[in-house]
Symmetry: C2
Subunit: 412 residues, 2 copies
């Protein structure tokens, strides 16, 4: 089954909000063999919403919309979709009762503006939303099927999982799926990957290979279409094995595995406890590690030593090292990583100090210069890197570099 | 001028990559009075790209595409767009020379796969890309104007600024713009905002008001269209003043000002130095602060005390406080924030300790329970909060809560 998404919101089109719902929905539908073939973002303008939904229905007969179901005056999706089906909006007592109950449960007074949320296109089935105030809607008729979800990412995701996926699963013929698998790489450029893997690509068919560059590395996506789940599984496993064999430890994991997860898992397997000393990344490495549930079994903590005085006081970096070599130097990063290991009583540690810009660069140490330090069982090492991009990209790359560098140095 | 965006990439449609280029381009074009009226994401399938570009051209005559210009076999945008214009691809010596030169400068060997990047649709002007290997392309003819940019966000942004904005500016009649202004709020729910502001909305016309909820708070977007820059400026200033007057210190800034920026600025004005103690946010608050260039003049550093031993050793939280009250308690957060102030020699500090989930909740302290601590000139305060959402949302909300809480407590 092919499907189109229409994401609704003036803020999406004007660029004030980044749409993540489109990606989430596509990923939830793929395992059913339902393929998103196009995604259209339109403003909160009823005529434009109506045209986009109508055109999408003409191409695929099934459309999911997100957004425009909120309580404010710019939420006009229901009117527009009702227009496509030629039906009016009706007050829905069940939706109203749930809204009243929700506000009572949260011990809050319901604002009057929520009343508009109790109106639904005539004939629509209501998909109850226990994560927020706007229910999803399922409207089917001569033009096709339109499923409307709220724009708040958490609500759209949960509603899709609880209500949309099971209902759509019942409609697709079992046994033919679009299946894919992602291999995550770090420390190797896209064009070098293409050179290594290019000669293999024909041999991987019918598995298709896509390169997805990001700030922490390049993801490789293997995809097969219109195939039985068993066959898909076997083909993808074989292809993944071939590609991994060609890339060695540049491939650190699969799926949504992050560098932080890979490091925590390997460190956990080795029984090692981890600490950090961060300067230019300012807490980002710790943030990435603690984004992983259960990270507390490996990660002890870190010092964000942004100011030089903090490097001295909290990590014991000698003042004369900072004075003689500067905070961005091999000597400083080695002292930082040893200090982190020592203060936290950790077996392994990583340290980052660098110039993220936009200011602070010199000829000798231009913006993007980063020293990474590693401590593994008492042995400290440092490496100098040069990262490109904006301040944020340099910080992201430095954080990924630190995680990958420590991962490679751990034998698991 | 109205314009449409077509973002190209199977990974975008399948949901493996989040598109940010659409948002960046829309924001760069708005000040010229150029309005993005629709954005379509399509896979790397030449026929689908061709249809989407052709349909968009029929509606607006001007289309910007992103993606599909890379060196790998799934980069097919140029073929597709050349098809819309009925022209072939041609080898372009200038593009080739620049590629060779780029690789020489980076002291790298050029992979063979880069050669495809030197082919361009016949008649296209080349927009030189000094940030990466794929140049932008400007193709104009009977179907309209198509501007092709690479998909890598940094490259798309820089090329748009350097090459696209100036060229498009020369084509739009000066003097009529779409102008908007964002007011950023924190600590107040969307429906409460709607109740406070609803009665004002009619009086704001022709300024339109949109509500954009995010994890750190709700943004309010004020927009006027088709108006002279001077009038726009006056109308938006008046409207912003009215709205800010109604919201008091819930409105912490305008535009892209972050909570971290607002806090750093106010602390800088007061001559205060800032330190952090983070547990469940794991470095996120520090990351948000140090994302701001120049934060080092205010932010000294922080301790990520993830493990209880780290709370004792690095922040001096007494073991008996942790044992008796637990790490997520008023007593612990007060000891943490005092410890941070003390260890870093800071005037002000914030501390966060809580249960981000998905595990670790109890009946008394369910997932989402977070204690925030504040230290301002020796006076410590704590507040208990309950946040909803996923682990990541709880962490984001806790971090925003800490920044906003400290900001409100600083008189500046």
């Amino acid at each position: 089954m092919d499907i189109e998404l229409v994401t609704i919101g003036t803020e999406l089109v004007l660029g004030f909000t980044i749409d993540t719902n489109g990606a989430t929905l596509a990923q939830l539908l793929a395992p059913l063999g339902i393929q998103v073939v196009r995604r259209t973002a339109v403003p909160d303008t009823p005529a434009v919403i109506r045209d986009a939904v109508r055109e999408a229905l003409e191409r695929t007969k099934v459309v999911i919309t997100t957004g425009g179901l909120g309580p404010t005056t710019d939420d006009l999706s229901k009117e527009a979709v009702a227009g496509v089906f030629g039906v009016p909006l009706e007050f829905h007592q069940g939706v109203w009762d749930r809204l009243v109950e929700r506000y009572q449960r949260l011990l809050r007074k319901m604002p009057d503006s929520n009343r508009s949320q109790a109106y639904v296109p005539k004939g629509a089935a209501v998909l109850p939303n226990q994560w927020g105030s706007a229910p999803g809607l399922w409207l089917e008729g001569e033009p096709g099927l339109v499923i409307m979800l709220p724009g708040v990412p958490h609500e759209a995701t949960e509603l899709a999982k609880a209500e949309v996926v099971p209902r759509l699963a019942a409609r697709v013929p079992a046994g033919r799926v679009v299946a894919s698998r992602t291999l995550r790489t770090a420390g190797i450029a896209e064009s070098s990957l293409a050179d290594r893997l290019g000669p293999l690509e024909d041999g991987l068919a019918p598995v298709a290979l896509a390169y997805l560059p990001g700030t922490s590395g390049v993801d490789l996506r293997l995809t097969v279409r219109d195939i039985s789940p068993d066959q898909a599984d076997r083909l993808l496993s074989d292809a993944a094995g071939t590609v991994r064999g060609r890339l060695g430890d540049h491939c650190f994991g699969e799926g949504s595995t992050t560098l932080a997860q890979a490091l925590l898992e390997r460190a956990g397997r080795c029984g090692k406890k981890l600490a950090l000393a961060e300067s230019c990344t300012g807490g980002l490495v710790g943030e990435l590690l603690t984004a992983v549930p259960g990270s507390s079994s490996v990660f002890l903590g870190g010092v964000v030593a942004y100011h030089n005085a903090a490097k001295e006081r909290l990590l014991g970096v000698p003042a004369e090292v900072l004075a003689r070599h500067g905070a961005v130097s091999e000597e400083s990063v080695l002292a930082m990583v040893r200090g982190a290991g020592d203060r936290f009583g950790a077996d392994i540690a990583a340290a980052v100090t660098g110039i993220a810009g936009p200011d602070g660069g010199t000829e000798e140490k231009p913006v993007g210069t980063v020293w990474l330090g590693y401590l593994v069982d008492g042995r400290a090492e440092a490496s100098r890197r040069g990262f490109s991009g904006t301040r944020e990209e340099i910080r992201q790359r430095a954080a990924a570099g630190a995680l990958f560098g420590l991962l490679r140095r751990l034998r698991g």
